[in-house]
Assembly symmetry: D2
């Protein structure tokens, strides 16, 4: 039986508790939050879970094997560090930390303590992203040429992190999971309409050493909710529209190929339009997959799909993007 | 009666001839093209229009008042210059020229020769863009916060110009027409998948001195055709989806406003969601508006909606974007 | 405090218990179901609610003021009758009964016993239908000309009732709520693909004495889920698409008007196309409205929006539709 | 060289002339229309085509081999009869005639005169319908269970024919082309909002002797244009949405199958949801296919895809539908 402590019971907390509660051989023992109202809300639904205003109560409880950290981003590092030092396995909400240095320190500490360190990159566990992964792995798409993501809606303006730190971890973690490639540099532009210098609209480009490019558009300021990722390959292309209730992935057997005109030494591009295919995808709840992978990894002493390194790679891009933003698009080498 | 000569009868040529032919007190006298097949195609439909392989025949015809230049982009400048020197009024396809210096030279020459110089910024003449202009002018939207355009599809790879020079003139000319503001700098990123260094995917950000940002995503490499512009204001927001057959504009009475929490000196953002409104727009052919404005401006000796300066401002952005692209996003001041 | 007993804890049961539990001055005391598994499922979430396999326990509990009947349709009548006789207030799932005679008997009994009798016409309590009602009431739409509903998807084939009895109560109750008009006759056609004579696809037309028509298309056999209602008026028209996540209602300021050509005594129809308007609608859970109306009506001794007569009018149409179905569309007078 | 005369140059006339003009070994010699304005409009574009106000000029021209009849529906029969008697091959716009008796008379006359008689069932020649035909023929869909068509928009109210005669020929001809089955009876309901007794909204059910049903919803009174056909089979289902610009057909590998529970002698229905497939379809102009088939059939003395019998079968349904409409849905045996 793995005993879980949850630290932070805000927006995402009820989902975490509900999913961990569904697992076999796993129990949520204690939830910590400084807001009495949140703990009362929890108690009504889960009278058997202990509550506390002090997260240290959770960390010093020897019966608790693992903690889930769902506090504001700037607290991810200190709380996770303390938890690892107390010998707990740790699952952190995304983004993992506010700096590369912090992420690296947590990874080193987890390794030293031989504890599981995981980041909640929920999308990686969706049936849709899993399906895209397998389609790419099959070679059906060919070589990947580009990844373009738009994730915009009218969203809660955060006070401590800009829109890239808030929304882009979803897309960057999906991208990294799908390709396994590392970008060599980033460029980012954006704007803060609030006057507090925290961007509410931002654009981010990832440059790679091979023939690939990735771009992200994030905004809290769009009345239209768009969640669309285009993945272009040399043979086929995938459109992933997360706003669609059921037909989330479309695979276009449409492409172009290049050849050189022997005579004129001129590049020619040939087009081909073909059928479109909408594969069925599993509709399971992704967060249950996250919880299950975390608990199984602890038990079996193995890696998860989204370990500390995955979290670090996201933070590495975001940190560089912040620097590029301040210099209006200047390329920052990673 | 205004007599028109058309130089270049490629993809856009038939549309130009058809629309100028519909105007009163205007006649297309001669069409020039070096390809005999194109001239034959024209002759079948318009047996009364003279044809020639040599555009100089058009320019030296004293009866011809005005020429429409629809040749490859790199020829816009020399042909337009020669035409103005021969005293013709000139309408050039977009983009006006391949450099700011060329555009400025044409503007000066047109002024000196007292001739009308116009650029075919077709979208500015659509019922939709005219409607958006009037909605913004009415103050309904409030202050403009952002302009975000996506114009992607599986398109013909050009050999002489990159995707920004090919597609972005549409969006930049719309933006400039709507706001009248000038950007202070640009950042652009992109990729060439063909190995010839000509970008087929590009992203462009325009920075402004006020609280406004514009971004453009252009691609020849997307099997899905997207033509979507988001225009965010302080009070309402407009979504212009040009792929929609009829409901092209949606106005969202949805927004957010900012205030400072007196107690905590903290910024608070309030949301408001409201009705959506789809105004009826005129469905007239935009190119007929271009042709009519050109001919009337000649006759009445007045400005058009898209004169040399409008063309120049688009080229100014594109030229700087090219420099930024080569430096992977570096901000280029205009 | 109103004490509720729920009889039947199948597909809809958890929603009923959850919503009644949210009301003030109301408590769900007991739930009856013959399936032990269902009661166990309930107990896990609501340990304080009593359970029983015998619905008569609920009916003979003097502390219980009102019962909610969510058993198979053919049991609605006997259980409701027994409940009313025991002096309980009664809320029945739709369709109210399997015959007009049964519905009339329940109405008479409720009147005699001075008890509230209500049918769960959930859609009548949605923000969308309430909005449509108020738009029609404002006169904005003009006189109503037609109501056309399509409600199809790949659905569970029922063994005891055909697709009209299963799905059409939603649409007929919406229609009756909106117009208050009674049809004079019905025609229905359909097919049973299972060989058991229970139609899985059916079409139903309602004829009225005034210039109005209603039509319903119901199917359990469509892989595409469509939930679309068109409401045409003499001035404007409403499209209600329940599959749309947010923009469920569109009001078209588009219509036609008729006049007679004086000269030729010929009818002329003039068209007008105009703006489209998407009003914001409340997103509250409709079933909470049902529960609240039921409890308040009991307490205040007043009518609900969906009393026995509303339930009867739906059953009256369905009963006649069954007769028409057997005669392949023959008009059945009501 | 086949010489064509076109009788009637209204809405559809320019399309007919343009397509016949594109064929090899075929020429449009003369066009007849009683309206001078229409003939002038033609002359501007096609100065080489002769014009006449009197269609008898066309019929008595010995050089003309074939005539296309595009006059008001009530004139189809007399003009076609006269043309056949003069030895012309005949292509009639849909619907072929206003009665079964007339259609049968024309078929007999064409046979006697050994002339080609064809009806312009344009949709049968679209790439989309051809694709659906081949998908059904391949057995991929299984046995056909239903055909459901909605064809509604804000349309021109006809003065001589109701909305079924105007719009349903498209759908009935598609249905007959796809299945080759004959209905045994029809039921129809509808309404006339104009007071002239000509229905502007109508619903039509076709009953078959096998396990199949067809339904049509036609309206001139809908501000929303819907052109959607659902074709359900025992294995897969097709949705054909003609309003979609490119993805017109979707094939759902989703279905249900029936089995009997051995124990309980109860029918069980199993569901299966699967992938969706959007086949590429040819985008050619269908009317060019009609024209080509007509001219080739004349030359090769062979049948067309849409001969007199196809036209008759459509009229047979429409005539019976009219009778059923007058009796509010009564089944009319064919």
């Amino acid at each position: 039986m793995i005993r879980i402590g949850v630290i932070g019971y805000g927006y995402w907390g009820p989902n975490l508790v509900r999913n961990f509660s569904q697992l076999n051989d796993c129990v949520v023992k204690t939830v910590a939050d400084t807001r009495p109202g949140r703990l009362e809300a929890l108690h009504k639904i889960y009278p058997s879970i202990a509550v506390t205003a002090d997260y240290k109560t959770v960390l010093s409880d020897a019966e608790i094997d693992a903690v889930v950290i769902a506090v504001p981003v700037f607290l991810h590092f200190p709380v996770a560090k303390e938890a690892l030092e107390k010998g707990k396995h740790v699952l952190i909400e995304k983004p993992m930390t506010t700096s590369v240095a912090q992420a690296e320190e947590l990874i080193a500490l987890a390794e030293k303590k031989r504890r599981t360190l995981m980041v909640d990159h929920t999308f990686v566990y969706t049936g849709v992203v899993q399906k895209i992964k397998s389609v790419i792995a099959s070679g059906e798409i060919g070589d990947l040429n580009y990844f373009d993501s738009t994730r915009i809606n009218l969203g809660l303006f955060q006070h401590d992190i800009n829109v890239l730190w808030d929304l882009a971890p979803h897309d960057i973690s999906i991208l990294n999971f799908l390709t396994g490639e590392k970008p060599v540099s980033v460029s980012a532009t954006g704007i803060s309409h609030t006057g507090n210098g925290i961007e509410n609209i931002a654009y981010l480009t990832l440059h790679y050493s091979n023939n690939f490019i990735a771009h992200f558009h994030c905004s809290w300021t769009s009345p239209v909710k768009i969640r669309k990722i285009l993945i272009g390959g040399s043979r086929k292309m995938i459109v992933y529209d997360d706003v669609e209730p059921t037909e989330k992935i479309k695979i276009y057997d449409t492409g172009y190929s290049m050849r050189t005109d022997e005579d004129k030494h001129k590049l020619l591009v040939d087009y081909r339009t073909g059928d479109i295919y909408i594969p069925k995808t599993e509709q399971r709840e992704a967060l249950l997959g996250v919880a299950g992978d975390f608990v199984s990894a602890i038990r079996e002493n193995r890696q998860t799909l989204a370990g500390g390194t995955a979290g670090l790679e996201v933070v590495r891009v975001l940190e560089a993007a912040g620097r590029s933003l301040r210099e209006k698009g200047k390329e920052i080498t990673l």
